[in-house]
């Protein structure tokens, strides 16, 4: 079952802390890193039915990666 976007139990603050810890140099490495942080929730799906040009359901990891510019995150 997918969660609505606001119901995802991981805050931006938490994600920002994780991003501060990683030295991932590409998306694959970052994905592996985030999977480690999310543990069992790595497969958490978000309801993105209303997101233009997005699939109906999206992995939380994919949403975090899609929003990296808002954290000012750059690889490496």
């Amino acid at each position: 079952m997918a969660l609505n976007p606001n119901a995802v139990p991981y805050s931006r603050e938490q994600v920002a802390t994780w991003l501060g810890e990683t030295t991932a140099t590409d998306e694959a490495a970052l994905r592996t890193f985030l999977e480690g942080k999310l543990g069992a929730d790595a497969q958490m799906m978000v309801n993105t039915t209303q997101m233009n040009a997005w699939p109906d359901f999206t992995l939380l990891i994919d949403m975090i990666i899609a929003d990296l510019p808002s954290y000012g995150f750059t690889y490496g």
Binding site: V8, S11, A16, A53, S70, G72
Partner: protein, 521 residues
């Protein structure tokens, strides 16, 4: 014995200026109640036109090169509201009394952006700020707190007890949502892309209470579900030019679009209401690249929009809309109300109400000055300004015959000049001065036993006749001034006459006496 021909006489009465400015129609098709050249005139008395009040400086802020980027009134229930001011020196100030002279500005924070204006929203007793460059922040009246991990968004809007943000760098389509009831908590997946990758970018967020309105530059969307972020297109052609040029008035949302001033309708594409000003909205006249700095205000019965003309770095012209003067159609639908032009030295606006006062303030557009707009003064920060009303050409119902104008009668207040033009020609044909200024007390004050103001005085509105001696087929009349005073205006509160300060002069009607001479061979 020669006998004078029995020439047909006429009397003609103007129908006021409630139609407002009209620069769209050809000069011979302008309606009798509209104005072609017009400036610095208010229409608060339906039909009448009056010179606006001026702008009074209430002191300076920052260094001499400082200019305001944005301002906001932070209401704090029960306590004096603060006015916040963000300047090009990268400083955010507040004052507890924007009406003081001089205003005392206190720094909240320094080192913030000197180019990107903060937008503001008040929620749960705090004001939240963002500008897309600096960290999202909170000001509670005494302490400034930043939230480093919140999206750095240019635009903030509160809707459904949730803070919505847009305009983050590199994410031009993205709208973020805070947690419900907590403007400081943002989930890592609480965002939605509106018109993803359409090449456009979000320029404004606003709300009608029911929906969050997302204004891109060339289209308008609404988010109608704060849980799933369900959204739809409202208008695929008209968008918002500036987050700061959106005004709410009596249930309506008015905004600046590329097409002109629009009214948001919600269930259908927005309506352009400034069609009579259409020729203004072209790249040759307005600075398209600076419309994101356009601003708006709501004051009393009017909505104003300020934006820069070509070649101007700051807002240089104001168009003002009078929604209450709109006439209902036979179907009961309110029609489009009139616009007027102002030239005021104003950049960003905020309306402030506290205790017995409600005032409109603005920053000066070319100085580090704080202005009381529509203050009871007759100049703009010490500089005289001219008000202009120009009627259409009147042919008195006969297009071809030459007429002789014998006299004009003016129902008016104050002092102004009348310029007469004829036959669609540019040069001034006649000019005359109309002086309806009044003496308020004939009595010798030093010997007054009954009290000043209880003795005789002249009426504020006078009916003056002027001989004119003019010939032509059609005539246009321009009323303008070079005055710097003010004249009171009467408001009847029941059967009690009260006076409120208003502009130097007013024109309520003009009556023309003349004869039709015939066709020239």
């Amino acid at each position: 014995m020669a006998k004078a021909p029995n020439l047909p006489g006429f009397r003609f009465k103007t129908v006021g200026v409630a139609g407002g400015a009209n620069i769209r129609e050809a000069l011979n098709y302008i309606a009798p109640d509209q104005m072609r050249p017009s400036e610095n005139v208010t229409l608060s008395e339906r039909g009448g036109g009056r010179k606006r009040l001026g702008c009074q400086s209430l002191g300076t802020f920052g260094g001499s090169t400082a200019r305001a980027l944005s301002t906001y009134t932070y209401y704090r229930a029960g306590a004096a509201p603060q006015v916040l001011l963000h300047t090009t020196e990268g400083i955010l100030y507040y004052t507890d009394d924007p009406s003081a002279n001089p205003v005392v500005w206190t720094q909240i924070v320094t080192g913030v952006s000197s180019t990107s204006p903060f937008s503001y929203e008040t929620f749960k007793g705090n004001v939240y700020l963002g500008n897309g460059v600096d960290m999202y922040a909170r000001w509670n009246g005494t302490t400034y707190t930043v939230f480093p991990t919140a999206p750095r968004a240019k635009y903030l809007r509160l809707w459904k007890d949730t803070m919505w943000l847009a305009g983050a760098p590199s994410l031009p389509d993205r709208v973020y949502s805070s947690a419900n009831g907590d403007a400081e908590d943002f989930s890592s997946a609480a965002f939605v892309d509106i018109g993803l990758g359409d090449g456009d970018s979000i320029h404004a967020l606003t709300t009608d209470g029911q929906f969050l309105i997302v204004g891109k530059r060339d289209s308008t969307f609404t988010i109608y579900d704060p849980i799933t972020f369900a959204n739809r297109v409202v208008d695929f052609e008209k968008g918002f030019e500036s987050h700061f040029a959106v005004a709410q008035y009596e249930g309506g949302i008015f905004f600046l679009s590329r097409r002109g001033i629009c009214q948001y309708l919600g269930d259908s594409p927005s309506r352009v209401i400034s069609t009579r000003l259409d020729p203004l909205f072209v790249p040759e006249l307005i600075a398209l690249d600076k419309l994101q700095q356009a601003t708006a205000y709501v004051y009393q019965d009017r909505i104003g929009f300020a934006f820069p003309e070509v070649g101007q770095l700051q807002n240089s012209v104001v168009v003002e809309y009078y929604p209450r003067i709109a006439m209902p159609s036979s179907f009961g639908v309110m029609g489009i109300a009139p616009f007027v032009f102002h030239r005021m030295p104003t950049q960003v606006f905020t309306t402030w109400r506290w205790q017995s006062k409600e005032q409109l303030f603005a920053s000066h557009n070319t100085a580090n000055k704080w202005l009381h707009v529509f203050a009871p003064v007759g100049d703009d920060d010490g500089t005289a300004y001219t008000a202009v009303i120009n009627t259409p050409f009147f042919d008195m119902g006969t297009q071809f015959e030459t007429k002789y104008l014998r006299a004009l009668r003016f129902l008016c207040a104050g002092r102004f000049n009348v310029l007469i033009f004829r036959n669609y020609d540019g040069p001034i044909y006649r000019s005359l001065v109309v002086d309806a200024t009044i003496r308020r007390d004939y009595w010798d004050v030093s010997a007054d036993l009954w009290g000043v103001g209880t003795w005789d005085f002249e009426s504020l509105v006078q009916d003056l006749r002027k001989e004119v001696d003019a010939y032509g087929r059609c005539f246009s009349f321009q009323f303008r001034d070079a005055e710097t005073g003010t004249t009171p205006r009467t408001v009847w509160v029941g059967a009690t006459s009260k006076e409120v300060p208003d502009g130097e002069w007013a024109l309520y009607g003009m009556f023309v006496e003349g004869v039709t001479l015939g066709q020239r061979s």
